[in-house]
Symmetry: C2
Subunit: 378 residues, 2 copies
C-alpha cells in the first residue's frame, strides 16, 4: 500500500503508478478539487467519467461544514460522497493562512474566524491530523505555514522552519491515530521556503531527515510569484527529490502549468481553475480558450472542442452551451466544468503516454507552442 | 400519429397511450417543464432516467432567448437539447398575460416588454404558431387569453371568446405551416372560461365545434382560485370531453393535484413545482414533505425517501444532501430536483397501474389520506 512504481522517465518527466487504499493512480495526474465534499457543480459519477482517478477534499471547508464528526459518523468522505476512488485532503494550512486579518499565528497553531459565521476555531498540527483522520482520505497532508509568493527571506524562513517543527508534531499525532488501526491513510509532508533557493533546499533536506515518506508535496508556489520563478524552484529541487515517491505540486494549475511541471518531475497536481473557469463560461480547448458567451457561437452547431472526448463535447453544440449560459441555466456551468476537468485529466494521460513513448519533450513543446500562439496563456 | 388509445378506465380515471412523432407516452403522465430548453438544473439524461416520457418547453422564454431562429437553425428543440422523446410547447399565452403592466392586449395579439431587456415584442396567434413550428415540438398549444383565477364573469367571458376567435387563427396558420411538410406537429386547443361553469361549457363546445383535435387542454386553472373550484370545473367538464383524445390540465401540479386530476379524467399534467421546490430544498416523500436543511438530518444516513427508486434516493444520504444545501453546492439542487421529478412521474405510473388493476379509487384515497395526514398539502 502507498507504493509508487516508476514505469519510465524522459529527462525529469516521469510516468508512474501510485497505489492507494481506494485504487491506483497512473501519474502524471491532475486531481480535481472537491471543496465541499463535491467537485463544484459535479456529480461523483460525472467526475469518474472524466477519467479522474483521485480527487482532493478541503480540510478547512469540511471542518467548518459539515464538520468532520458528521463525515466520520457517515462512514468517512468516501461513503459520504460516494466517491470510491482515491482521495487526498489538504491540511487547511493554505486556507487559514489566506485569512489575512482574521487569523492569529502562534507556534501552537492558527486561531481563525470562520468565513461563514465568524466563529473562532483553532487548527494546530495535531488538530489537522485529527480532522483528516476523521475524514478518512487515502492521503493526509501535513499542516504547513504558508507565506505569500513575495515573502522576504526572513518571513519565508520563519514559515519554512515552523513547517518543519509542525511536521514533527503531525507525524507524531498521525502515528498515534494510526496505531492499532489497519492503516488506510498516509501522511505527506510539504516543502516550503518561498522563492528562496537556499530555504527550499533546507526545507527539503529537513523534510527528508524526518522521513521516510510515501510522497512529498511542494507548497507555497503559484501564490503570486512569477511563473519563471516557480519553474526555477522546481528545477532546483528536482535532483534532490527522492525518485521513488510521487511529487505533488500543490494548487497548480492551468494546462501549461501541468506540462511545465511534468517536465520538471512533478507527478500530481490540483487546482480549482478547471471548475471555476467552467462556472464562469471559460473553456480550454485544443484551439485556444473559448468564452462560451461569445456572440459568434450563437448559431454554432460545432462541439466546444472537436478534439475532445468529454461528455459535453460528444453531446452538445456550442450554440446550446452558449444559450444555457445566457439563460443562467445551471446545466451550463456543469457542462463546461466537465469539459475543463476532462481537459486537464486527459492532458495528464497524454503526457504519461508520451513519456512512455519517449516523445514527451517534443509533444509537450509543440503543445505549448500551439497553446501560447492561441493567446490562451493565463 | 397523434393517436390516443384508451386501455382502461375506473370511474372518470383513464389509462391510455399517446403516440407522438418522438415516441409513446403512457398516461396519466406528469410532464417536467424545460423552461430554457432544459428542465431546470437537469441534464436530459437525468430527465430520461426519472422515467419522464414527455417534457414541456416554454415558447415565451425560448422566443426571447435564444430565439426560435437559433433553435430552428440547430435542428429544432429535440436536436438542440438532445431530448429525443416527445415534447410539447406552450403558446406563451400564460406568460404574456402574466406580465401585468408590461403588456397591451388587443384583438390582434399581445404586445409586451421582455422581462430580460425591456425590448418590445408582439405575439399574435399566428406568431405563436410560427414560433412553435420553428421550435418543432410534437405538440403545439393554441395561443389563449388567460384571465386570473378571480376574474369576473365578464372578464372571463371576454378572454374565453377571444381564445375561441384566436383558435380559428391558430388553426389556419398552423395548417399553412404544416402544408406540404411531413406533419410532425399537432395543435391542441385550450378551454378557458375562468371559474364560471357556463363559460367553461361554452368554451368547450366552441372548441369542439372547431375540431376535430388530437388533444384538448384545460387552461386558466391553478391560477389563484381555491382547489375545490378547480375540482368542480373539471367534474363539470369531464362528461363533455371527448373520450378518444388526451386531456391536459395545464400548470398543475402538486402530488395531490395529480391524483385529484386523474380521478376527474385528466391524462396529462405539467408544473414547475417539482424543480422549483427541489432548488429550494423541499422534497416530497412517502413520509411527507422534507425540508432538507432541517437540523435533524445532520447525521442521517437514511435516504431522502426509503420508498423511492430515484437516483438520489438510491445513492445519497439525507446528511450528504443537507450538507450540499448548507454549503450552497449546486449538486444539491440537482439531486432534490431529480427526486421530486421522479416522485411525480412515478405517481403517474402508479396511478396508471392502479387504474388498469381497478384499484385506483382505493389506492388514491389511501395515498391522499396519508399525504394530508403528514401535513404536506400545499
Amino acid at each position: 500500500m502507498f507504493e509508487f512504481t516508476l514505469h519510465g522517465t524522459e529527462g525529469a518527466a516521469r510516468a508512474g503508478t501510485l497505489r492507494l487504499p481506494h485504487g491506483e493512480v497512473p501519474t502524471p495526474a491532475f486531481m480535481p478539487v472537491g471543496t465541499h465534499a463535491a467537485v463544484r457543480g459535479l456529480h461523483p459519477d460525472e467526475v469518474r467519467r472524466t477519467g479522474a482517478r483521485i480527487i482532493l477534499g478541503n480540510t478547512y471547508h469540511l471542518h467548518l461544514r459539515p464538520g468532520e464528526d458528521v463525515v466520520q459518523a457517515l462512514g468517512g468522505l468516501h461513503r459520504f460522497t460516494t466517491w470510491d476512488r482515491p482521495m487526498l485532503t489538504d491540511s487547511g494550512g493554505f486556507q487559514v493562512f489566506s485569512l489575512e486579518g482574521l487569523r492569529k499565528i502562534s507556534e501552537q497553531g492558527v486561531e481563525f474566524q470562520s468565513h461563514i459565521d465568524g466563529a473562532i476555531h483553532t487548527i494546530t498540527p495535531e488538530k489537522a491530523m485529527e480532522i483528516q483522520w476523521a475524514l478518512g482520505a487515502d492521503v493526509a497532508m501535513a499542516f504547513d505555514h504558508v507565506v505569500p509568493g513575495q515573502a522576504t527571506y526572513d518571513h519565508a524562513e520563519e514559515g519554512m522552519e515552523r513547517t518543519l517543527r509542525w511536521l514533527d508534531r503531525c507525524r507524531r499525532r498521525h502515528g498515534e491515530l494510526a496505531e492499532g488501526a489497519a492503516v488506510r491513510q498516509t501522511l505527506w509532508p510539504i516543502v516550503q521556503g518561498g522563492t528562496h533557493t537556499e530555504l527550499r533546499r533546507r526545507s527539503l533536506q529537513g523534510t527528508l531527515d524526518r522521513g521516510p515518506w510515501t510522497g512529498i508535496a511542494v507548497g507555497g508556489l503559484s501564490v503570486g510569484e512569477p511563473k519563471p520563478v516557480m519553474h526555477r524552484i522546481m528545477e532546483e529541487l528536482e535532483p534532490a527529490l527522492p525518485a521513488d515517491v510521487p511529487r505533488y505540486l500543490m494548487g497548480v494549475g492551468f494546462p501549461d502549468d501541468l506540462l511545465e511541471g511534468i517536465a520538471r518531475g512533478v507527478d500530481l497536481f490540483d487546482c480549482v481553475a478547471a471548475t471555476r473557469n467552467g462556472r464562469h463560461g471559460s473553456a480550454w480547448t485544443s484551439q485556444g480558450k473559448v468564452n462560451i458567451r461569445g456572440a459568434g457561437l450563437r448559431m454554432s452547431a460545432a462541439p466546444l472542442d472537436a478534439d475532445c472526448d468529454c461528455e459535453t463535447c460528444r453531446t452538445f453544440s456550442r450554440a446550446y452551451l452558449r444559450h444555457l449560459f445566457q439563460a443562467e441555466e445551471m446545466l451550463g456551468l456543469r457542462l463546461l466544468s466537465i469539459h475543463n476537468v476532462r481537459f486537464l485529466v486527459r492532458l495528464g494521460e497524454c503526457a504519461r503516454a508520451a513519456i512512455l513513448d519517449g516523445t514527451f519533450t517534443r509533444w509537450s513543446r509543440e503543445w505549448l507552442e500551439r497553446y501560447h500562439s492561441k493567446g490562451t496563456a493565463e
